[in-house]
């Protein structure tokens, strides 16, 4: 479903070249929940941007649902991003002068859905994140956790195949982090593939697989048992399976 082979992403200045991704290869199968971990500067966010078609890469190949994304025009890439990919950011990235409803509506507008279709999808998404009653609130009137839930609603309103989450709990306290992770797991159970970038090993353990990056390369793969919160054992931590 998502296949990257030998992808290189290089940032250049007049004096130096920095490999953000080096010979990076990864396959993600439909419905997987993959955590991407690694120290700062290891290339996690770059990987997410490349995977989300927000950045070009220099060499290698990237197939998304069988399509070679390098050959696509900007229009086609944008359409693919709009219809198949949802983003969740650490700083929420809500548009400050749009209310919650209008924020969730943004990707649906670019998909040119009818008004009725948009209303239905927005209603369902806000219902799922528990914010249907706050639809006409402005982002500044919500807590951080609520804002992140709005961002999740926006990401899933278009029913994407992939959800790319970049440190989605980075600005949240532990309680809210847990709520957001519960929500992501719930979305994953509904069939959406999730790629989660995080520093937090605890959060990474809640994924089915952990891909650890160092200097733009994968240094380690780990697959986990289902998280105890999912399995019903709240007292133990998910064990390494392989």
């Amino acid at each position: 479903m998502l296949k990257m082979y030998d992808v290189n992403k290089i940032y250049r200045t007049d004096l130096i070249e920095t490999y953000a991704l080096r010979q990076f290869s990864l396959e993600v199968t439909p419905g997987e929940f993959v955590a991407i971990t690694g120290p700062s500067g290891s290339g996690k966010t770059t990987f997410l941007n490349v995977a989300g078609l927000l950045e070009e890469f220099d060499s290698g190949s990237y197939l998304l649902e069988g399509q070679d994304v390098r050959s696509l025009s900007d229009d086609a890439r944008s359409r693919l991003r709009n219809e198949r990919i949802g983003f969740i950011f650490q700083s929420f990235n809500l548009i400050p002068d749009l209310d919650i409803y209008d924020n969730v509506e943004v990707p649906l507008r670019y998909r040119r859905l009818s008004g009725a279709d948009r209303r239905e999808r927005i209603g369902s998404a806000l219902e799922l994140v528990g914010l249907a009653s706050r639809a006409r609130h402005m982002p500044s009137q919500l807590s951080g956790g609520q804002q992140q839930r709005v961002a999740i609603a926006r990401a899933i309103a278009g029913d994407p195949a992939f959800l790319l989450a970049d440190e989605p709990t980075g600005n949240l306290d532990s309680l809210m982090s847990r709520q957001v992770m519960d929500l992501l797991e719930q979305i994953n159970e509904m069939g959406t593939t999730i790629l989660l970038v995080t520093h937090d090993p605890e959060l990474a353990r809640r994924a089915q697989r952990n891909v650890h990056l160092v200097d733009g390369q994968i240094s380690d793969f780990r697959a986990y048992e289902p998280h105890p919160s999912v399995a019903g054992d709240a007292g133990s931590v998910g064990a390494v399976r392989a």
């Binding site: 944008s78 507008r109 926006r154």
Partner: protein, 445 residues
């Protein structure tokens, strides 16, 4: 998507009201200056009867001093007026569809109620004047050619004079005394201010039309002199009015209306034949220069629009360009300020084209606001120019209305100019922002 983009544009203005206001003001100032300058230029240089440009011709012949042209700096031009005897001969031709010989004089009007006698500018003209120059009538009409010679005591008044003498009532059929002769009023003109006053540029290009019109032959009968230009190039014995009529002095204007190219050629040939005959008799010693000049060329030859006006128009457009360059800078600043939101939109699936379209609509809204404000400023500016012009040049006679003539076509052009210019100015910023990598700005959020 248009409605959506429009809504986003309005929200965006709320995000940066200061920058938005600066852009609107910059565009408005540029547009206002352009519209004002163009309107004044148009009022002062336009051909007020352009639709007759291929029919209406000023008739001139060069009878001037063989050794010195009338205007040394422009020796190619014949005198703008003609001798009495030449106009009489050419007027006899049946080739023109309409023909007018005329000049302006002064008369004293009296005999109307208790109004004191007053001097008024009076045009001595042939009957075709009103039809040829498409003069509008409020009441009645002009006179027929039969009333020209022998002259009938008929008079046409301007609307302004009719208001002064009769309080604006329909005065057709009433009588008044003009230079102590009784005249019957046959027509009252409606407002008519051809600017420039192309048919007679004597006394200034933007003089208002005369207040009274009487049949041409009264000029001879009452021995009425031209109040403006009576130019003679050689000493002649001028003991009386008949001597003046027989002289080589130029003082009468002649215009003809020729419906087609064939009649133009025929009348030119008629003039040339007359010129050759007169030359044999010892007149017209300068090279042949018999001209039929249409109104546009007439205005150009008489330098109705001087270079200063053209320079002003150029400067106005340069100012607009300067305003637009500033607007480009402000747009770039505004769009860069919103680049993070643009990055979010790109991440959520907006293509470069969609971002470009959205930003251009924002630019379009700014341009429309700027244009509307610019038009309002231009209207205020023109009102000020109108008052200054009226006070400085026209005194009581009025007639700078043309400066306030804000016609629909002009407004539409101003709007098109503003929107097109601002959209052109906005192309680069909109394109530039659309090309930015969204990831860079998402990080900066």
């Amino acid at each position: 998507m248009f409605g959506y983009y429009l809504r986003l544009a309005l929200k965006s203005f709320g995000r940066n009201p200061g920058i938005t206001a600066l852009m609107v003001i910059a565009i408005a100032l540029g547009i206002a200056v352009c519209v004002m300058t163009l309107t004044v230029y148009h009022a002062m240089s336009g051909n007020p009867i352009w639709w007759k440009n291929d029919r209406l011709y000023a008739v001139t012949m060069d009878n001037w001093d063989p050794n010195h042209p009338l205007i040394p700096s422009r020796p190619e031009l014949p005198p703008p007026e003609m001798t009495y005897k030449d106009t009489q001969f050419l007027f006899a031709s049946n080739i023109p569809e309409r023909k007018v010989v005329m000049y302006s004089t002064e008369g004293v009007v009296s005999g109307v109620g208790t109004a004191p006698p007053a001097q008024i500018a009076t045009r001595v003209t042939t009957a075709d004047f009103f039809a040829m120059f498409e003069v509008p009538f409020l009441y009645g009409n002009g006179w027929t050619a039969g009333a020209d010679r022998p002259p009938q005591p008929l008079i046409v008044l301007s609307r302004r004079e009719n208001e002064k003498l009769f309080g604006g009532a329909n005065s057709v059929g009433r009588t008044l005394r003009w230079n102590d002769h009784e005249f019957r009023i046959v027509g009252v003109l409606n407002d008519w201010f051809p600017r420039p006053r192309y048919y007679d540029l004597n006394g200034g290009n933007f003089q208002t039309p005369d207040d009274a019109y009487i049949p041409y032959a009264w000029g001879s009968d009452l021995q009425l002199l031209n109040k403006e230009e009576n130019d003679c190039w050689r000493p002649e014995k001028l003991d009386n009015f008949r001597d003046f009529e027989a002289s080589d002095c130029v003082w009468q204007q002649m215009w003809v209306e020729l419906p087609d190219a064939a009649s133009l050629v025929r009348f030119q040939s008629f003039m040339d034949g007359y010129w050759a005959e007169q030359r044999k008799a010892g007149r017209f010693e300068r090279p042949k220069n018999n001209r039929l000049t249409n109104v546009s060329h007439w205005l150009r030859d008489n330098q109705v629009v001087d270079n200063d006006n053209r320079v002003l128009v150029g400067l106005a457009f340069a100012f607009l360009a300067l305003c637009l360059i500033n607007t480009v800078g402000l747009l770039l600043a505004k769009f860069l300020n919103g680049a993070a939101v643009t990055g979010i939109r790109r991440a959520l699936g907006a293509s470069r084209r969609q971002i470009f379209g959205q930003l251009l609509i924002e630019v379009g809204v700014v341009s429309v606001l700027g244009a509307l404000l610019g038009l309002a400023l231009a209207a205020l500016g023109l009102l000020a120019v109108h008052h200054m012009y009226a006070a400085a040049h026209l005194g009581e006679r009025g007639g700078s209305q043309e400066l306030m003539h804000f016609d629909v076509v002009g407004v539409v052009w101003a709007l098109i100019l503003a929107v097109a210019a601002t959209l052109a100015a906005g192309l680069y910023p909109a394109w530039r922002i659309g090309r930015l990598s969204p990831a860079v700005y998402l990080k900066s959020q």
